[in-house]
């Protein structure tokens, strides 16, 4: 095995050298993606199930593309969590999939810990594609790869994460990964959307976005879900934009070099202005491409044991 852990469930406690290995490998696959023929035979004969208990167009397409680029056989399985509650148990679903003799499962599930539970029922490699408000490790890895691409390093970088931290698996995985790699992290958002115990993870917390912009090398702007607007958590869209939105005016007043990231999908005009998202400082589309490369690297490193070293010709 090329990584120390069989599965990728989360980045909490993940070895720094393995994160580096994934990022380095991802850059190699990124070269493949820039070629006219974007396919390598690395995972020929490997069968992967994309098991999605929650809708996620972007993450699923990114994984599917990564699998196709690596020549793996893939099957998609979508089940809404509400049907799961009524019908077949999680255990039965898991065991059915196991019985079909597959090599890996990429799973998105609304409940924290579900990927860990899956490993108790099946032998295949499990890759967490997001478990509720817990982790989304592949997103954090693609974010770190994108930062690495921009800055040539992660150690010592100052990263601000802005938005709804309480309901964000992206934030949590980014915190774990960035701290492991030696970066500094400051969280910024409405006080009621920042978990009260989050500082114990080793991050700073600020409610003043302008302070964070001054401080940071890069900002990761999280999607603020419209469902939360006006439902007690956030008073209104315009208030959120005024207090925490990465607006063009705000960015202009700071007159500084700063890298802007967003995991998508964006609410233009709410947490980020369209002009900022489309501007020179944003690397949002690089993140999307790096997402495919990172997932190729992860799949290759975790499932590549059976096939020969992928010659990239």
């Amino acid at each position: 095995m090329m990584l120390q852990h069989k599965h990728l469930l989360g980045l909490e406690g993940y070895p720094a050298e393995d994160i580096q290995t994934i990022i380095d490998t991802a850059f190699k696959f990124r070269e493949v993606l820039d070629r006219p023929i974007k396919k390598v035979p690395s995972l020929q004969g490997v069968t992967i199930v994309n098991l999605f208990f929650e809708n996620s167009t972007r993450t699923r397409i990114s994984f599917e593309l990564a699998q196709k680029r690596l020549s793996a056989d893939t099957v998609n399985f979508s089940a809404s969590s509400s049907s799961l509650k009524k019908g077949e148990s999680f255990k039965d679903t898991a065991q059915n999939i196991e019985a079909m003799k597959i090599d890996a499962v990429v799973m998105r599930h609304p409940t924290p810990g579900a990927p860990k539970l899956l490993t108790e029922f099946i032998d295949a490699v499990v890759i967490n594609a997001g478990d509720g408000t817990h982790e989304h490790p592949t997103q954090a890895i693609l974010d770190m790869m994108s930062l690495h691409e921009k800055f040539g390093k992660l150690k010592g970088l100052k990263i601000g994460i802005v938005g709804d931290i309480s309901h964000s698996r992206v934030a949590l995985s980014n915190i774990y990964g960035l701290l492991i790699m030696g970066a500094e992290v400051t969280l910024c958002g409405p006080p009621n959307l920042i978990p009260p115990f989050i500082k114990e993870l080793g991050v700073e917390v600020s409610t003043q976005i302008d302070e964070v912009i001054e401080w940071a090398d890069a900002l990761n702007v999280l999607r603020i879900q419209r469902e939360r607007m006006g439902l007690g958590l956030v008073p209104s869209t315009r208030e959120y934009r005024a207090m925490f939105g990465l607006t063009q005016e705000r960015l202009d007043t700071h007159k500084k070099e700063i890298v802007i990231m967003h995991p998508g999908p964006m609410n233009r005009g709410v947490e980020i202005d369209g002009t900022v998202a489309d501007g020179d400082q944003a690397i949002i589309l690089d993140q999307v491409l790096n997402g495919v490369a990172s997932r190729m690297a992860i799949l290759y490193l975790l499932c590549g044991g059976k096939s020969s070293e992928g010659d990239e010709s």
Partner: protein
């Protein structure tokens, strides 16, 4: 575990007798004739006696658990009065109070009578606790007076907090008619929200919805104030937080009608144990921090918390072998209770064995108004024999409950119940 009828003449010989009622510890024998205490101390053993050598062992009162869920009627696939009785005896319990959150709930005199009748065929004493409100719906008072006449020993909507402060006030006021305790599962449902574990560092790590200690302490505080105002008897079940211990300690200075219990699992575990998403540790109120655990221990040591109760809550495998959000709340606890609390309170915290035994015998019996002089001549034998020094590892073979949802597997425990004598039966554990 074997359960047998006891011999006409049974002698527990050469044991260390701990009498938690008189507060005495001495060496001696206990003679049980036709199921009743015939003599204690140095006795002339009748010729035809069955003798159990108890040297090196402790002979004491059978334990009393005032908070168990035996799921009958309605969910006999999880537990029944019979299977629950076996679990109780395995843990040294000869007397339990069953919570009314059954299906249907115990909210009428008829349903109380159902339990009383069925309990007659069980090898331990089972007392029903009646619901406070009809269907445990939180709105309309049950026929507490008639339920009391049928044998209800307390009232509770356990599992469901009495959310409405005015309803709680009415219930407490009315309960003074019978002078029975009201037991409110204290968790503010709005503050608890969708919380599935204690809100703190670990829930933040795991991304699981947190249930803050405030959800408990705010409601405990409300209940204490209402209890003082009404002069009613309030019993606070399964205290889990430092803040709640603090409120109870303060209120007890002026109000001796307030009592409280703590569970073995809240004394034994802290929320670090949930790191592996073990659903057997999902319980309400949740397992909290080490600081809370230490505060609970302090509360036991200074008498703020009166007794230990297991909140034995059986669930099927399917209820627990699922994702954390869907898993049921609760764990079984009768079989592992003594070994767990003896390890924590005696071995680790230096409490005397005598004091611990009071927390499992005299103290809970006082709360429910049961007689406590169990070594008196002519009293029906309700005793246990304990190997208090035995170190053992809890495993599936120790479970007598119909359900197996215990978080104690592979945990080292200290002190084991060897025999339980109750209702004319004796176990060999």
């Amino acid at each position: 575990m074997k359960i047998e009828k006891i011999a006409d003449n049974l002698v527990l010989k050469n044991g260390t007798i701990i009498d938690p009622y008189l507060g005495k510890t001495y060496e001696g024998d206990v003679w049980i004739k036709n199921g009743k205490i015939a003599g204690v101390g140095n006795i002339n053993i009748p010729n035809d006696s069955t003798i159990i050598n108890c040297s090196g062992k402790t002979i004491t009162h059978g334990f009393c658990d005032i908070h168990v869920h035996f799921r009958e009627p309605g969910r006999e696939d999880k537990e029944s009065l019979q299977t629950g009785s076996r679990a109780a005896m395995a843990g040294g319990f000869t007397r339990v109070c069953v919570m009314p959150n059954t299906n249907p709930p115990l909210d009428t005199p008829e349903s109380i009578n159902f339990i009383i009748k069925k309990a007659e065929k069980c090898p331990i004493h089972i007392h029903p606790i009646g619901a406070v409100t009809k269907t445990q719906g939180g709105n309309d008072l049950t026929e507490m007076g008639l339920m009391h006449q049928e044998g209800a020993v307390a009232f509770s909507d356990d599992g469901l907090p009495i959310q409405d402060g005015a309803m709680m006030r009415i219930a407490l006021e009315y309960s003074t008619l019978m002078d029975l305790p009201i037991i409110n599962h204290a968790e503010d449902e709005c503050l608890r929200a969708e919380g599935v574990m204690h809100e703190g560092k670990i829930s933040t790590h795991l991304g699981l919805q947190g249930n803050p200690d405030l959800a408990e302490s705010a409601m405990v505080h409300r209940d204490l104030e209402l209890a003082e105002f009404t002069g009613a008897r309030l019993h606070v079940p399964h205290v889990s937080s430092e803040k709640a211990v603090h409120h109870i300690r303060k209120m007890k200075i002026n109000n001796e009608k307030v009592t409280a219990e703590v569970t073995p699992h809240h004394l034994f575990f802290n929320d670090e144990a949930l790191r592996c998403f073990n659903t057997n540790l999902k319980v309400a109120p949740p397992i909290r921090t080490e600081k809370d655990r230490k505060a609970l221990i302090e509360g036991v040591l200074d008498g703020t918390l009166d007794c230990i109760a297991t909140d034995h809550a059986p669930h099927t495998i399917e209820d627990k072998e699922t994702t954390f959000d869907l898993a049921s709340f609760g764990m079984i606890g009768l079989e592992s209770c003594f070994g767990a609390v003896k390890k924590v309170l005696v071995d680790e915290e230096g409490m005397t064995l005598e004091s611990l035994i009071k927390l499992l015998t005299v103290n809970p019996r006082n709360i429910m108004g049961f007689d406590s002089d169990l070594f008196g001549e002519g009293i029906e034998a309700e005793l246990i024999v304990v190997d208090s020094d035995q170190e053992w590892t809890f495993s599936r073979e120790h479970v007598q409950s119909r359900s197996i949802n215990s978080p104690f597997y592979n945990k080292g425990l200290s002190g084991k119940v060897i025999h339980t004598i109750s209702c004319g039966f004796i176990t060999n554990n």
